[in-house]
């Protein structure tokens, strides 16, 4: 019970800090009430209802990231990690930001009614789905707090750092094996000493909050990340002007991806956090493309900056946001620039046919030989994604007009760039070996899967809405 209170309080602080940050950034759009959707029906109510869930979802991820930034600052300043050194300044900052957000909101906005009303049968479906999602998260919570650190890389390259940093109260250096011998005991080593620190720092904070090392309970943030992702998905869809039921369907689909669930139950890998931060970075960018608010832009930037601190490929994931930003900033020249970029990338692939560079450990020699069987198994036959990729292809084919114009264009561009990144890695490099044995392929696809899920829901909402309006006008 005490454990639950300590751990809960520790992460509640991080969550509240993030909510305060997002709330402090948000007032401009709340004030204007600009709908992200082209629809006007229920726009105010939808935007308001969506904002609360977006605030909760994006708030956790923002807070969890800022927490680790603060821990890095403490370590750099030679201040030992402790509840006081970490929590006290963050609690003060949270309070100040909440007051700031409250004052601005009170001055500039008026309370609005929550949500568009649903009919009784639809409301019953909404509650049934909510209960279904809640039951899943209850099961995942039991798993994450019970199972000691289990999956391979979690104890080879992530929690190794957490254990040492927790015991020493700061970020002691991890180096490769060669440097380790030369360091004569002043540096540590593990399977991947150069991997980023954010995820191990989450585990360190869990243990500091608990007051002891516990390699099951320290993984609570993985569960919180999944919950936050579902909240954010709900918020984005609702904020787009969709009904509460459509938003709940979006949250359900995002929270029910089996491989994402496994990464909660068997927590310790950085792939689920990578997926969550990338999804939030893309969605915040997309919201900015519609609202042009400084708040959304700042949030998108924060999440994009977080990506490389989660996993090394996070740098590339963050760069996949660039085409969407270009098209948003330069509505006329942007598409042409993106087109030129695609041409340059294609040319680069051809050049790589002649040279043999190695980047991020991947041999980038053009050797087009995708492992089609492995890819088909992963995307369409195994139980990793339910029907996600069938739906993605069907939507892209049927709704291609909608996805290639605003407001969906920036998000579609981000997804297209992200999928192109995966395609190049797994079709042209030695990473294809991991397709055949179904290892890294699925974890790499996990990085983009939640975003694809939300994109499908948004696209369907937009497409159905457009046809409904057209049908009504024709009638």
């Amino acid at each position: 019970m005490i454990d639950a209170l300590r751990l809960g309080a520790g992460w509640a602080l991080a969550w509240l800090l993030g909510v305060a940050i997002v709330a402090a950034l948000a007032p401009h759009r709340l004030e204007t009430g600009v709908s992200l959707s082209a629809r006007s029906v229920d726009s105010d109510a939808s935007v308001r209802a969506g904002e609360i869930m977006w605030l909760a979802g994006s708030g956790f991820l923002a807070g969890a990231f800022v927490l680790t930034i603060w821990m890095r600052v403490l370590s750099a300043a030679h201040v030992r990690f402790s509840i006081v050194s970490i929590a006290a300044p963050l609690a003060i900052a949270t309070l100040a930001l909440l007051i700031f957000a409250y004052v601005r909101r009170k001055r500039r906005t008026t309370a609005r009614e929550l949500g568009a009303p649903l009919s009784n049968p639809l409301r019953a479906i909404w509650w049934a789905l909510a209960a279904w999602v809640a039951a899943r998260f209850a099961m995942l919570l039991l798993e994450v707090v019970r199972i000691p650190l289990y999956p391979w890389d979690a104890w080879e390259q992530w929690a190794t750092k957490a254990r040492v940093w927790y015991e020493f109260g700061r970020l002691v250096p991890f180096v490769d094996a060669g440097s380790w011998f030369a360091a004569h005991g002043t540096a540590w080593t593990d399977a991947s000493p150069g991997y980023p620190a954010t995820v191990p720092l989450w585990q360190v904070w869990s243990c500091i909050a608990l007051g002891r090392w516990d390699d099951a309970l320290m993984n609570l943030p993985w569960w919180l990340t999944a919950v936050a992702l579902a909240f954010a998905a709900y918020g984005v869809v609702r904020g787009f002007g969709a009904s509460a039921l459509a938003a709940m369907i979006g949250a359900w689909l995002v929270s029910s991806l089996p491989l994402a669930n496994v990464h909660v139950a068997l927590a310790g890998y950085a792939d689920l956090p990578m997926a969550a931060y990338y999804a939030l970075a893309a969605l915040a960018s997309w919201r900015w493309a519609q609202s042009r608010s400084i708040g959304d832009a700042t949030l998108a930037l924060v999440f994009a900056l977080a990506c490389p601190t989660i996993k090394t490929p996070g740098t590339v994931w963050a760069l996949t946001l660039v085409p969407a930003v270009l098209v948003t900033l330069l509505p006329r020249r942007g598409p042409r620039l993106v087109g030129i970029g695609i041409a340059v990338a294609a040319f680069a692939l051809l050049v790589l046919a002649r040279i043999h560079p190695t980047v991020l450990g991947y041999r980038l020699h053009l050797d087009f030989a995708p492992a089609w069987d492995g890819l088909a198994d992963s995307f369409f036959l195994l139980g990793n994604w339910n029907l996600l990729w069938y739906a993605a292809i069907a939507c892209a084919v049927v709704m291609w007009r909608e996805l290639s114009k605003r407001p969906m264009l920036p998000l579609s561009l981000t997804l297209g760039t992200g999928l192109a990144f995966l395609a190049v890695v797994f079709a042209f490099t030695n990473a294809r070996d991991w397709v055949s044995d179904q290892t890294t392929i699925n974890r790499a696809v996990l990085h983009i899967a939640p975003l694809v899920t939300v994109w499908i829901v948004l696209l369907c909402v937009r497409w159905l809405d457009g046809h409904r309006v057209a049908h009504a006008q024709a009638a």
Partner: protein
């Protein structure tokens, strides 16, 4: 267009489409007749014998550890099958390495001196069933069947038993359903892949549901076209009119897959509750498969010099008052053990070669270093002379500080 009544009826159409799809599949996939009264024969692992190679019956599983010198392992069972009633034979096993080939052997009373052989296809570490009805030597009374594994067995192959079935429509459907709802505890590959139920699935459930969705969508489109055949309606409007129904069916299909996954998750929660609930962190580790390793490392941790981190230490010099923390080298024949033991030994300053089974370079060792040896061949210790030597290399002075659970802890002099 009067399509507003389609959405509620679409679920009925979908169920019908699912039935049609399943029937079409069974018509193609069944190995025997549509109906056969012959009961399925299930051979338990306890009824199997290892005729060649090395292995043992552990609980309900026959574990094959090694092949014989000729590179083969053979597992056999005595049977009394009427060949014409049984069209399909399946070996239930997992853990088969990609390079290992497998064959089904059988012997009949019609050709008592002949041992028949059929190659078996593998999928994801398991074997696919063999359709034997078409084989000209599947005759008379089948007196025995066997499984031959050829090639290097990298990890133990776990055989749960063998089944012989009629391969009729009901058996085919029952087999698929059994595959879809198969359950396996969390294992090393769980983090990489969510298998579609069993390791070897002949018809993945997502594919079946998608096929049924396509059939149902086509049926709905046909209904819409039929009802509006006298009207001039744009194709886009027709697509839009069936879209809500198709979306509903898509969600229903997703729900089926999600329900299956939720049941599997609930079983994991149940199993892990029995295994871990209410236990201390140490007790949880002892309940894992590598509990013996954890127990050894826990003892070693009480012997290793204590680490007292001090806030006054400069960065890069953790340990008591700037003294470097003890360096601990971990060696083992097992890649898993090296990495896992290293993790359990942190925050001591651990080194292990995760990729290769090698010991640290003797020249890089110094007095005050520690070596953990766990299930590693080629390490010799002379207790009288306090000499430690590995792989016939340089001799190093060391004290044995712990010998327990197949592991040893040495402190270098």
């Amino acid at each position: 267009m009067a399509h507003s009544d389609l959405a509620p009826r679409s679920l009925t159409i979908w169920i019908a489409a699912l039935a049609v799809t399943v029937l079409a599949y069974v018509a193609v996939a069944k190995a025997g007749p549509w109906y056969s009264p012959a009961p399925e024969v299930r051979i338990a692992s306890s009824a199997l014998q290892i005729a060649r190679g090395k292995g043992a019956l552990i609980g309900d599983v026959l574990v094959v550890e090694r092949t014989a010198d000729d590179g083969n392992a053979v597992v056999s069972a005595t049977t009394n099958l009427v060949a014409r009633d049984y069209a399909r034979v399946a070996w239930r096993l997992h853990g088969l390495a990609p390079g290992t080939s497998a064959f089904l052997l059988w012997n009949t009373d019609v050709e008592p001196d002949r041992v028949n052989r059929l190659p078996l296809a593998a999928q994801g570490g398991a074997l696919l069933p063999a359709d034997v009805a078409a084989d000209p030597h599947w005759l008379g009374q089948v007196r025995g069947i066997a499984l031959i594994l050829h090639g290097e067995i990298e990890r133990p192959v776990e055989i749960l038993g063998a089944d012989a079935g009629s391969g009729d429509a009901f058996a085919t459907i029952a087999s698929r359903v059994r595959e879809w709802v198969a359950y396996a505890r969390w294992n090393g590959s769980s983090i990489n892949t969510v298998s579609d139920g069993d390791e070897a699935v002949l018809l993945p459930l997502p594919l079946l549901l998608f096929a049924a969705l396509v059939v149902a969508s086509a049926a709905i489109a046909a209904i819409v076209w039929w009802r509006g055949r006298g009207e001039s309606i744009a194709p886009a409007a027709r697509i839009a009119s069936i879209a809500p129904s198709v979306a509903l069916l898509f969600l229903a299909s997703w729900l089926v897959l999600d329900a299956r996954w939720a049941v599997a998750l609930a079983r994991h929660v149940h199993d892990d509750g029995i295994r871990f609930a209410g236990k201390s962190p140490a007790a949880k580790h002892l309940a894992l498969e590598d509990g013996a390793l954890f127990a050894f490392v826990e003892k070693a941790r009480t012997i290793l010099p204590p680490i007292a981190a001090d806030a006054s230490d400069p960065p890069g010099h953790p340990g008591p008052r700037g003294a470097p923390a003890a360096r601990v080298f971990v060696v083992s024949d097992s890649n898993y053990v090296r990495g896992r033991a290293a993790y359990l030994l942190y925050p001591w300053n651990v080194w292990t070669d995760r990729a290769q089974n090698v010991l640290p370079p003797a020249n890089d060792l110094r007095a005050g270093d520690w070596i953990v040896v766990y299930q590693r061949h080629g390490v010799a210790y002379d207790a009288a002379a306090h000499h430690l030597r590995w792989d016939g290399g340089k001799v190093i002075s060391a004290d044995l500080r712990l010998l327990d659970h197949g592991g040893a802890l040495f402190e270098l002099r």
